[in-house]
C-alpha cells in the first residue's frame, strides 16, 4: 500500500477560523525576561502583533519594518544592529535575551545570522541574542518554524560543567499536569527535579535547564532542539512523544529506566488499570457517537484514532496533514482495517465543501469541530499537559465532560486566542 493518500495531493489551501495553535510569538515568549524584535515587512507583522496583544505580550515585542530599499541596498544587516540599539534605548528595563525574528525575505537574502549574533553579543554586552524565523515558506522543510523556534530558544542556554539530577521536558508548550505519575516515577529513579521552560520565572532559572542530566522530548517540535542541546551542551535526550496507547506508555516507562540506568520500584500496573477503567467508562457513555479528531489537538492523530478504534470507540474521521514517521504506519492500519474512517486534510478546500455537517458527533480539536459543525467539542490543543496513564485518564474525563457539558466552539477559540 502506498505511503500517501490521494487526499494529500498539493492544492490550494483553505484556512479555517479554527486553525492554528500557539504561534511563534507565544512560543518565544516562554523565555523569561526576553524581548522580541521582528525585522520584517509590515504585512508579516500582523498575525504576531494581534497574537501578542491578545496574550498580553505587547510590551515585550517591537517591529522594525523593512522597506524595499533596505532589502536591495544591502543595508539590512546594519539596520538590524540599529534597530536593536533603538529598542534598548527605549526599554526601561534591559531584557536578558532578545529574540530577533526574520521572515521569508531572509531566506532569499541569505543573511549570515550566525555571524550577526556574534556581532550583536559583542556590541550589546550582557544580552543574549537568538535569531528565529517566522518563515512559512519552510513549513514543509525538515526544520519548519515551530521546530526551529524551539531550537533557537534553547540555544540561549549556556554550556556548564554542572550536571545535576534533573531532567527537562521539552517540545511541549505547557508542563505536564502536576498529578501525572511521571513526576513520582522520575523521583523514584533519583531525579530531583523535572523542569519545563514555562515554569522558569527568571532568565537565571531558565539557564539552569543547561544542567539537566537528560531532555525528555514530548513533542516532535522539540526534537531539533534536543539534538542541538546534545551537540552544544552534552545533554542526552529521549524521545517520549505523548501517547494515549497503554502499551506504548508501558514501553515509554521502560525506556526511561533504561535511559537513566536505574530501575523504579513504582508499581504502574494500578495506574494502567485505572486508565483502562476510564476508557471503559467513557466508551459506555459515548456509545456509538461518532468521534472526529484533528492534528492540532494531538501531535499524533492517526495513532490516537487507531487506538480509540481498537478500544471500541466509533471513530468517524481524522482531519490531519500528510503523516510522517510512525504516523504513516497508523494511517495505513486505518486505511486497511477501518476504511470507514474518513481521512481528510483540514486545509483542503474540498474538506469544507463536502457534506461534513455531522452535527451529532464529538470532535477532539477545534478544527475538526469547525469543519464538521459537531455538537460536542473537546477542548484540547497540542496534547497540552498530557502524559502517561494520568494523561489517558485526563483525556477520557475531558471526552466525557465535553459530552455531558457541551462547549461552545467560538468561546473556546476566543479563550485560546487563536489568530488567523
Amino acid at each position: 500500500m502506498a505511503n500517501s493518500h490521494p487526499c494529500f495531493a498539493k492544492t490550494l489551501l483553505y484556512t479555517s477560523p479554527a486553525h492554528g495553535g500557539w504561534g511563534l510569538v507565544r512560543v518565544g515568549m516562554l523565555v523569561p525576561e526576553s524581548f522580541q524584535l521582528f525585522i520584517a515587512p509590515a504585512a508579516c507583522g500582523r498575525h504576531g502583533a494581534i497574537s501578542a496583544y491578545q496574550h498580553g505580550y505587547k510590551d515585550r515585542l517591537a517591529y522594525y519594518f523593512l522597506e524595499e530599499q533596505d532589502i536591495i541596498s544591502g543595508s539590512y544587516e546594519q539596520q538590524i544592529l540599529q534597530a536593536v540599539e533603538q529598542v534598548l534605548s527605549r526599554l526601561a528595563q534591559k531584557p536578558q535575551a532578545i529574540l530577533l525574528f526574520v521572515t521569508c525575505i531572509d531566506d532569499l537574502m541569505a543573511t549570515d545570522l550566525e555571524s550577526l549574533t556574534i556581532e550583536l553579543a559583542q556590541r550589546f554586552c550582557g544580552i543574549d541574542f537568538s535569531f528565529c524565523h517566522m518563515n512559512p515558506i519552510r513549513n514543509e522543510s525538515k526544520l519548519p518554524p515551530p521546530a526551529h523556534i524551539q531550537q533557537q530558544i534553547f540555544r540561549l542556554l549556556k554550556s556548564t560543567d554542572n550536571q545535576l539530577s534533573t531532567v527537562n521536558c521539552i517540545g511541549n508548550l505547557l508542563p505536564i499536569d502536576g498529578q501525572c505519575e511521571l513526576y513520582s516515577f522520575l523521583h523514584s529513579l533519583g531525579i530531583s527535579q523535572i523542569k519545563h521552560i514555562s515554569q522558569c520565572k527568571t532568565y537565571a532559572q531558565f539557564q539552569t535547564m543547561a544542567t539537566a542530566a537528560c531532555n525528555l522530548v514530548l513533542s516532535p517540535n522539540g526534537l531539533a532542539a534536543a539534538k542541538r542541546m546534545k551537540a552544544d551542551l552534552g545533554i542526552p535526550y529521549l524521545e517520549l512523544p505523548v501517547s494515549y496507547a497503554l502499551d506504548n506508555i508501558d514501553q515509554q516507562y521502560e525506556q526511561l529506566q533504561q535511559a537513566l540506568g536505574k530501575t523504579s520500584s513504582m508499581d504502574l500496573s494500578v495506574l494502567r488499570q485505572q486508565a483502562e477503567q476510564e476508557i471503559a467508562q467513557t466508551r459506555q457513555l459515548l456509545g456509538d457517537l461518532p468521534i472526529l479528531l484533528d492534528g492540532a489537538a494531538v501531535a499524533h492523530p492517526f495513532a490516537l484514532a487507531w487506538f480509540l478504534y481498537q478500544q471500541g470507540f466509533s471513530v468517524a474521521g481524522v482531519f490531519a496533514e500528510q503523516p510522517t514517521g510512525q504516523e504513516k504506519h497508523y494511517m495505513q492500519q486505518i486505511l486497511e482495517y477501518c476504511p470507514q474512517i474518513k481521512i481528510q486534510p483540514p486545509r483542503h478546500p474540498r474538506t469544507m465543501l463536502r457534506s461534513n455537517q455531522t452535527q451529532q458527533a464529538l470532535a477532539i480539536g477545534f478544527e475538526a469541530a469547525y469543519i464538521t459543525q459537531s455538537r460536542y467539542v473537546m477542548d484540547l490543543l497540542n496534547d497540552e499537559t498530557m502524559f502517561g496513564y494520568h494523561g489517558v485518564c485526563k483525556f477520557m474525563k475531558m471526552l466525557r465532560n465535553s459530552y455531558i457539558s457541551p462547549n461552545n466552539l467560538q468561546d473556546l477559540i476566543n479563550a485560546y486566542g487563536l489568530v488567523i
Binding site: 531566506d107 532569499l108 537574502m109 541569505a110 543573511t111 549570515d112 550566525e114 555571524s115 556574534i118 556581532e119
Partner: protein
C-alpha cells in the same frame, strides 16, 4: 579538509582553471570534490566528460527522496563532481539556488561520506548577493582565489570580490589566498594585474598563458591535465596546484 572558493568575473576562465586544478590535485593523490556554483551548471563538464544534472534539477524531480548518488558524480581520476544549478534564466533567484543546494549537500552528508581532502567551489562572477557570498562563509571555503585577466572589467570584478572578503574580515570568513592571472594577451597584462593585487593587499600567485591547447581539450570534453598531460599548459596547472596548496598550508 581544505575548502577553496574560486571567484572571478563571468567568462574569465574560472571553471576551466578550477577543473584543471581539481584534475592536477587528483594526480597528486588528493581526493577532490568540485562544486560548481553557477546556474549554467557547466563547471564540472570537462572533469566528468559530460553535463551532469544539477542539485536543483534533481530536487525538482524528486523533492523528498534524493540520495547522494543523485547529486555527486565521478569525474576524472576519482574526483567527485557536483553542480548546484540555478533557476530558469530570467526568473527565480540564483543566490537562493546556491543556498538550497548547499543545504541539501549537508543534509545528505556529502562531505562526510566522500571525505575529500580538497573541496573547490567554483562561483559565478561577482559577489552580488548573500547566496553568492555563501561559499566564503564560515564553515565553507577557508581560502578564496580570484581568477582574472588584465582587462578592466575583470580587474574591477576582482577588486569587488576582494572588497567583499575584506568587509567580512571580522567574521570568521575565508581569507583571500591570491590572484590567478588567466592571460588574454592584452598589453601590460601582468603589470596591471600585479598592480591590482598590490592595491588589494594580495599577491599574484600564478600567471596562466593563453594556449589553444585548452580549447582543444575542451573540444574533447576534458581538462588539459587529462587530455594533454605532458603539455606545457598541463605543467602550468600542476604548478598552480602546488602553489595553491603552498598558500593554503602557509
Amino acid at each position: 579538509m581544505l575548502k577553496i572558493a574560486i571567484y572571478g568575473k563571468g567568462g574569465i576562465g574560472k571553471s576551466t582553471t578550477t577543473a584543471n586544478l581539481s584534475a592536477a590535485l587528483s594526480t597528486m593523490g588528493y581526493r577532490v570534490l568540485q562544486i560548481g556554483c553557477d546556474p549554467k551548471a557547466d563547471s564540472t563538464k570537462n572533469l566528468v566528460g559530460r553535463s551532469i544534472p544539477s542539485v536543483l534539477e534533481q530536487l525538482q524531480k524528486n523533492p523528498h527522496g534524493l540520495t547522494r548518488e543523485d547529486l555527486v558524480f565521478p569525474g576524472f581520476n576519482s574526483t567527485f563532481c557536483v553542480e548546484s544549478g540555478g533557476p530558469t534564466p530570467g526568473i527565480g533567484c540564483a543566490g537562493r539556488g546556491i543556498i538550497t543546494a548547499f543545504e541539501k549537500l549537508e543534509e545528505l552528508g556529502v562531505y562526510e561520506t566522500y571525505a575529500p581532502d580538497i573541496v573547490f567551489y567554483d562561483v559565478l562572477g561577482d559577489v552580488v548577493c548573500g547566496g553568492f557570498a555563501m561559499p566564503m562563509r564560515d564553515g565553507y571555503a577557508d581560502y578564496v582565489f580570484i581568477v582574472t585577466s588584465g582587462e578592466m572589467m575583470a580587474l574591477y570584478a576582482a577588486t569587488n570580490i576582494a572588497s567583499a572578503i575584506k568587509n567580512f574580515g571580522k567574521r570568521n570568513y575565508a581569507k583571500l589566498g591570491g590572484i590567478i592571472l588567466n592571460q588574454r594577451n592584452i598589453a601590460n597584462e601582468q603589470a596591471l594585474t600585479e598592480q591590482m593585487a598590490k592595491e588589494i593587499n594580495s599577491q599574484l600567485i600564478a600567471s596562466l598563458p593563453r594556449d589553444g591547447i585548452v580549447q582543444q581539450a575542451e573540444a574533447q570534453c576534458k581538462t588539459v591535465v587529462e587530455a594533454f598531460p605532458n603539455s606545457g599548459m598541463a605543467a602550468c596547472y600542476q604548478e598552480l596546484a602546488s602553489k595553491v596548496l603552498e598558500v593554503c598550508h602557509g
